[in-house]
Symmetry: C2
């Protein structure tokens, strides 16, 4: 079933596709968002996305919309959708001029459905090519982990290249630790241990990252969260990227370094299948 454009966006529960020019989401990026895969009428990992949304709201001191309200609006948009992408945005709403937040903000709640993205099967079977971005991620413990609307670092990084053969770009902090890619988290396998960067100072704690850490632990793969210096990647046995839409993309190349698609990546790609919207048949 195709997306009915007339009901693809709800703003505070109403079918409209616009927000006020005075919305602090626009003026300051004063809000948070989530991007979810939709499959067979359901928004996948809804509970965990909502948890992170609530965490982000708490950090920014924005009242988080009630779960029932969001659940109802998400259901309203997703019912009948075979595959799609759902975005939830919560901003501090409008208010007086200036950075000082209104005492009782009336938040803006946006739920928005858009068509699914398709990725080549080769991305899953042979892996993707990745580059290292010049744009750095700044340390900001107050904002680290959450998915807020200040995304110019990612915009700058993603626009460093325009050739389609490179699927993603890695981003480092100023100390040359890899933090994440522009729109995905990174994992590496080192001597059989699954490692992913510590995100306490920068980066987004992805829902798929969380799912993969849990899947790994359940299947007896040892996991570590730690700072990962960029130069450590050259010694990694396996590398992959993940997010809620793509699932897992094995990495076959970073700059001039080449990697194979290894057994742990394959195992997790298979295990993560049902948590994202991807229907790729991958060899296990």
């Amino acid at each position: 079933m195709d997306i009915d454009r007339q009901k693809a966006v709800l703003v505070n529960g109403r079918q409209q596709e616009v927000v006020s020019v005075c919305d602090r989401g626009l003026l300051y990026g004063d809000g948070v968002f989530e991007t979810l895969a939709v499959k067979s009428g359901k928004a996948l990992e809804f509970a965990w996305h909502l948890e992170r949304l609530a965490l982000g709201c708490r950090r920014l001191a924005i009242p988080c919309p009630a779960e029932e309200v969001l659940q109802r609006e998400v259901d309203q948009l997703c019912t009948g959708q075979t595959q799609a992408i759902l975005k939830i945005i919560v901003t501090r709403g409008t208010g007086a001029r200036g950075y000082l937040a209104p005492r009782k903000p009336e938040v803006t709640r946006i739920v928005c459905l858009s068509p699914r993205s398709d990725f080549p099967a080769s991305f899953y079977r042979e892996g993707v090519r990745v580059r290292c971005c010049r744009q750095r991620l700044c340390d900001n413990p107050a904002l680290a982990g959450i998915k807020h609307l200040n995304r110019l670092e990612q915009v700058m990084a993603r626009n460093e290249w325009h050739y389609p053969e490179v699927a993603e770009g890695l981003m480092c902090d100023y100390a040359d630790n890899v933090i994440e890619a522009t729109a995905s988290n990174i994992f590496i396998v080192d001597a059989g241990i699954l490692q992913t960067p510590d995100l306490s100072k920068a980066g987004v704690e992805g829902v798929m990252r969380r799912r993969i850490l849990q899947l790994a632990r359940e299947t007896g793969i040892k996991t570590q969260i730690l700072p990962i210096p960029l130069q450590k990647l050259q010694d990694a046995d396996e590398i992959f990227l993940c997010n809620s839409l793509i699932g897992i993309w094995p990495v076959r190349q970073i700059g001039k370094m080449r990697f194979g698609v290894g057994p742990i990546t394959r195992r997790l790609l298979y295990a993560a299948r049902s948590y994202c919207a991807i229907d790729i048949h991958v060899p296990t």
Copy 2:
């Protein structure tokens, strides 16, 4: 004359007060803005604000609207206004999902008039009380100096206090250098020399800061742009804050440190009068 609410906002030249929920200004803070004082029907310092807007657009690779177009729309809103505040926002507009910018962005151009702000006369005569914020400003040379829409650092900082007796909050980088206040630039006077922080890694290069540097040079006051460690403030002879709306606010207190309103501050406050919308009679 009061603001006619019906024509207080223009979006791409049309009288409307909304933007698409798919605007990258909302989704990513992917744009720049300017805030101008309006006096006697004119937007003050229009040329310099436009210069900075153009610089910001260039840095973000957003096509900047033509000067004639902006001038016409600004005139349309400002004509007949005794005093007001004008905001200009330029975003990369809508586009496909994701951080990659559309090849030919159709920018969103917002010009928005709002009522003037009033400040107590004592702010100008006796100075303001200021605090030091816990929230830091991250280094980001690619975005430093310009006035982009990613302002969560400022929002976090400004919401650290709610008592009205503190007018502004200073923000430092991670090396404890003062960069600016949440919505203004800072100057100090040290042994007769007017100093203001270097903003090559963080901060906004304010139009009033630029005006003050020029006014100082014209009147024979020596100026320096340099890193200013926070602890240096305790030895400053004079300190003041500035922006396009407030003009100059002498600082009388930062935390427990107290300062007088000095002669260089007074002289510049008087000289800067006509470049902002303030009608305060200040002793020269």
